[in-house]
């Protein structure tokens, strides 16, 4: 096929979306072009470098054919068809510049301009406006409609031409609609709208929210968000920015452009929020960041974004950022600003002193899932190669460690099996314990697109999450299970598949251990696993469960996506194995559209696990007990590596309380807020002699720190993040670190202060060391990432272009293993004192502990944590919507506001953990996953009672925090 190779760095708008299919050759303006069938004439022309004027078409959405600016003539066809809606045909001869179409285009343009204010010079879109461009391109020289009707602002702000000023109606233009500035990040100025409906289509097709409509008819039609009484903020709009991206004019425009002007340069980088790992173009003037625009060639996001990555980057320049190192002798003293050298030698001396007194294993590190692979690699190397122990852990402990264990046991590798593109080929999707529209929004948009095309959805979640029922989406089945019964439900599904003989025997015989399967089949066929037997315990109607199992087994390509609702349980690892069993039973592994896909929370959870952050394994998931693996690193680092596993985060805190763990270097994590059982975490931190917090802000953990090392934001460093698809994406420095150093440099300086001979000059050198020691990264280099844009590991000689799909010809471990998954009820049970079950989660606009998003305008959507409670539970307790309530468990109590919600079933309440004032983790307990100690965040027995204000604990906590955050002015 004679194809046009599009260089990956061209961002040109080709007018209509790409198509797949047989090649078709046609001639446009005498140039022969070959494109896939179903491609539009417009796209074919653009690919050939022949630009056709257009207004209502853009390649992120399907063509609509309303503006008629793109008309062409086709030999042998009558009239002037719109090139955006006309598919190519073999041998077609197209003329894009005939006198006839030129005349039509001018007429169209003239009509548009007659109702468009001409304050171009002072317009925010000046220089970045397709209407301007098209007026130029069609050669519009005159507007003959004199003083017709229009939608102009009668006050006529901005620099107007005389003609334009004359056309203002004077005060009281009844058609004028004032600008909607309700959204914190973008404005909607109806007077500039050309009603091309690109925004409406983007909201529907790209985002899938259906927040926008065109209201009114003909000349009176305008875009409207939500109902007539709504503005953008009060409507269903989730502020993803897709409409802003699609708008050809200044009608929908970033406020930052109004303020800062159009950007002059751009750098492609990766979002530092969630595990989707969207690619963005950071657009700047000098080092002034003007806006973040989703990059259309980003393979995770394909040009889409969510409110966090697109808009919530203001935290990086927030006044709360700490830019100077600080130390103090004890945590009741105020902080003292000192030089880097002083802070680092203070830290190093203390750590060395602790080791002398309490032994080699008395200190450790926590690596960050927000930092880059290179930074994480260095922090675990600091533990292993400088502290000489394996006391390294990461926040994945508290989220996806069971994924590592469970998938490692069954498939032989700890990672999702697919790329995100795979969802476009899926027929039945199970979403279990995940809420993608809030947690992984861009993936959710891609999933919803597939669901609108007809794929079926099964949701397994105690809450009626948005996906169950939203615009043009209905889940085929929602199994509202009682929190803590995941294993029972997953086993129930497997029971139906096995006993009804719906499993894929050929796949199992070929790909799995057949003996193990038979043992498993016998186990799972026992009637105690039947949907009927577990109905009372799980709360899931048996019929619904059977139907869901049948649908998944028989509905074609089946894919499972899961989140922390699976892992953060006493049986988290067991549920992950159960999910792997389901995929193997139904033969849904090893091709497009299927697979087992953990949705990772933070941007680099995958990477931090890959990089050896866990205390039992070196980079690449290899246990420290294996001498041949230790040897690789011993040779590279010139040290001897401890063969014993180190402490996990909860074990570190236990050991601290016991007095045998005294020093911690914590990079980019806030364990005091994010980890369960806050009081226990606080006690552990308070018992240490040297806590080093390396972060952007004085976070909650820093209240107990002795050394504060200022961190750099993702905009200020080079490196890589690895997303939930195992995709290694480049993070590129767009401005100098405000604190002076990239985070890897700070770790290196600490290592040097401890006496290590580390001399990395650039993160690419760290990546070279990773590649040299870790087989799945063997061929990864920065040059390759620059060239390819991104790559999915394993990337080595066997897979030089990386690995979009895993386990294609066989499982990494050889034969896939079926593991028996017996349901064991959690010890956390409701009782007379604590009769309700609390489960926790997150929402779209906030991120994790909120340290970043709370420092942006995203608080417009979520100013505080809210307890969602069913109406009957609320009524029994005399709680009304909006009331302050006290939430108590055996661990502690806090207060927050209640919201009556029909998403909850009776007996279950829900909250988020984004705000330190609430500290939802005061409530959560120290119960954890049996295999990995991943805390059981998702099930806590609680009581809810009316309240009138903060608890004593909240007040004490706030007082301590305020005291602890005092900073003495630097000595002159």
């Amino acid at each position: 096929m004679k194809d046009f190779i599009i260089p990956w760095d061209t961002d040109a708008d080709l007018g209509t979306p790409a198509r797949e299919g047989k090649p078709v050759t046609l001639t446009i303006d005498g140039v022969e072009v070959t494109v896939p069938e179903h491609t539009s004439v417009m796209r074919a022309a653009m690919l050939a470098g022949l630009k056709i004027p257009k207004l209502c078409a853009t390649d992120s959405v399907e063509a609509f054919g309303s503006c008629r600016l793109c008309v062409v003539e086709i030999e042998g066809r009558r009239g002037t068809p719109a090139s955006c809606t006309t598919p190519v045909a073999p041998g077609m001869k197209v003329h894009t510049q005939s006198a006839k179409v030129k005349k039509i285009r001018k007429g169209v343009m003239e009509l548009y301009i007659s109702d468009h204010p001409l304050d171009c010079l002072t317009c925010a879109a000046n220089g970045d406006c397709e209407l301007q461009d098209m007026a130029g391109m069609v050669g519009l020289r005159d507007v003959r409609y004199e003083s017709g009707q229009n939608h102009f602002d009668p006050t006529g702000t901005g620099a107007l031409s005389k003609a334009d000023a004359d056309r203002r109606d004077g005060p009281g233009n009844f058609r004028y609609i004032a600008k909607d500035e309700s959204n914190p990040y973008f404005t909607y100025d109806p007077s500039k709208c050309i009603v091309c409906s690109r925004c409406v289509r983007a909201c529907e097709e790209v985002q899938g929210t259906f927040a926008l409509t065109i209201e009114g008819r003909g000349f009176d039609s305008r875009v409207s968000a939500g109902a007539a009484s709504d503005n953008f903020l009060s409507s269903d709009c989730v502020s993803c920015g897709a409409c802003v991206q699609a708008c050809p004019t200044a009608t929908l425009q970033e406020k930052s452009i109004w303020e800062l002007g159009t950007p002059e340069r751009s750098v492609v980088t990766t979002c530092a929020y969630c595990g989707v790992g969207c690619s963005f173009k950071a657009e700047l003037n000098g080092d002034d960041l003007v806006r973040m625009v989703p990059w259309k060639h980003g393979k995770a996001n394909r040009g889409h974004s969510c409110v966090k990555g697109r808009f919530a980057y203001g935290y990086a320049s927030h006044k709360d950022r700490i830019l100077n190192p600080m130390i103090r002798d004890t945590i009741d003293e105020p902080w003292r600003e000192v030089s880097w050298d002083e802070a680092l030698s203070f830290a190093a001396d203390r750590l060395k002193g602790i080791q002398q007194k309490h032994g080699r294993r008395s200190i450790g590190v926590i690596t960050s899932s927000r930092c880059t692979n290179e930074e994480t690699y260095l922090v675990q190397k600091l533990a292993r190669g400088v502290f000489m122990n394996n006391n390294t852990d990461t926040c994945a402990r508290v989220c996806h460690s069971p994924t590592g264990y469970g998938l490692g046991q069954t498939f032989g590798t700890s990672a999702g099996t697919q790329d995100f593109d795979s969802v476009e080929h899926t027929d039945v999707v199970i979403v279990i314990g995940a809420n993608p529209t809030d947690g992984h929004p861009v993936f959710a948009s891609r999933l919803k697109k597939r669901l609108r095309q007809g794929a079926k959805l099964i949701v397994i979640d105690p809450r009626r999450i948005d996906l169950v029922k939203s615009a043009h989406i209905r889940a085929a089945h929602h199994l509202p299970l009682r929190p803590g019964t995941n294993v029972a439900v997953v086993s129930g599904l497997a029971h139906v598949i096995v006993t009804e003989k719906l499993y894929d025997e050929a796949f199992i015989r070929e790909r799995c251990d057949w003996d193990e399967f038979q043992e498993y089949a016998e186990f799972i066929s026992d009637p105690r696993h039947s949907p009927e037997a577990i109905e009372d315990m799980t709360g899931v109607p048996a019929v619904e469960m059977r139907d869901a199992a049948r649908l998944f087994a028989q509905g074609g390509n089946g894919a499972i996506y899961y989140g922390l609702g699976v892992t953060e349980h006493s049986q988290g690892s067991t549920t992950v194995m159960g999910i792997a069993n389901l995929a193997m039973l139904t033969g849904n592994i090893g091709r497009q559209g299927v697979g087992v896909n953990p949705l990772r929370g933070q941007n680099n959870v995958q990477g931090s696990c890959d990089m050896g952050s866990f205390p039992h394994e070196l980079p690449g998931y290899r246990h420290v007990k294996m001498p041949e693996v230790r040897k690789i690193f011993e040779d590279a680092w010139g040290v001897e590596i401890d063969p014993e596993p180190g402490l996990r985060i909860p074990n570190m805190l236990d050991a601290a309380v016991n007095g045998s763990f005294k020093g911690l270097y914590c990079q980019g994590e806030d364990i005091l807020q994010s980890d369960p059982d806050t009081k226990h975490v606080a006690a552990g931190l308070a018992a240490m002699d040297c806590v080093i917090v390396h972060d952007l802000f004085l976070n909650e953990t820093a209240n107990y720190a002795h050394v504060f090392l200022p961190g750099s934001s993702f905009l200020e460093k080079n490196g890589t993040f690895t997303n939930a698809e195992r995709r290694i994406n480049m993070v590129r420095k767009v401005m100098a670190p405000k604190n002076g150093y990239e985070d890897w440099e700070v770790t290196q300086k600490l290592a040097q202060a401890m006496g290590a001979d580390w001399n990395y000059g650039h993160p690419s050198e760290i990546m070279a060391e990773i590649a040299a020691t870790t087989p799945s990264f063997a061929n990864v280099t920065y040059e390759m990432l620059d060239e390819k844009g991104s790559v999915q590991w394993p990337c080595n000689d066997a897979n030089p272009d990386g690995t979009p799909l895993m386990h294609v010809d066989g499982f990494v471990r050889g034969k896939g293993r079926f593991i028996v998954t017996e349901y064991v009820a959690t010890e956390e049970r409701t009782g007379p004192c604590f009769p309700l079950l609390l489960t926790t989660g997150r929402i779209l606009s906030q991120y994790n502990v909120g340290a970043q998003t709370r420092r942006t305008e995203n608080t417009a959507w979520h100013p505080e944590d809210i307890l969602e409670i069913h109406a009957s539970d609320a009524e029994n307790r005399g709680v009304k919507d909006g009331d302050w309530i006290k939430l108590a468990s055996r661990s502690g109590e806090t207060t927050l506001r209640a919201q009556i919600s029909d998403r909850m079933m009776p007996g279950v309440v829900y909250t988020t953990f984004h705000h330190p004032d609430t500290q939802a983790n005061v409530i959560t307990t120290d119960f954890s996953d049996w295999a990995t100690n991943c805390p059981e965040y998702k099930v806590t027995a609680v009581q809810v009672l009316p309240s009138n204000g903060p608890t004593d604990w909240q007040e004490e906590y706030n007082a301590q925090a305020a005291k602890s955050r005092r900073i003495l002015p630097a000595a002159e």
């Binding site: 394996n390 180190g646 074990n651 017996e822 954890s928 100690n933």
Partner: protein, 72 residues
Amino acid sequence: MSPEKMAMMANQIATFFKTQPGSDQAQRVADHLNDFWEPRMRQQLAAHVEAGGDGLDPLVKEAFALVRVPAE
């Protein structure tokens, strides 16, 4: 770590391996403890077993014979 918490964690591990087919459950519990429990946690387990092993699942006690307890 309180003895109760440690016993509970060890018992959780035993509870899982008890459900697994085969006859090597004790070995697998011990392997898990050796692979994931830091030396001082295993030391604490050892001390607890020596003191009578209050609250420990019999499978944990059985597995303990196979647990490596580092001296340091």
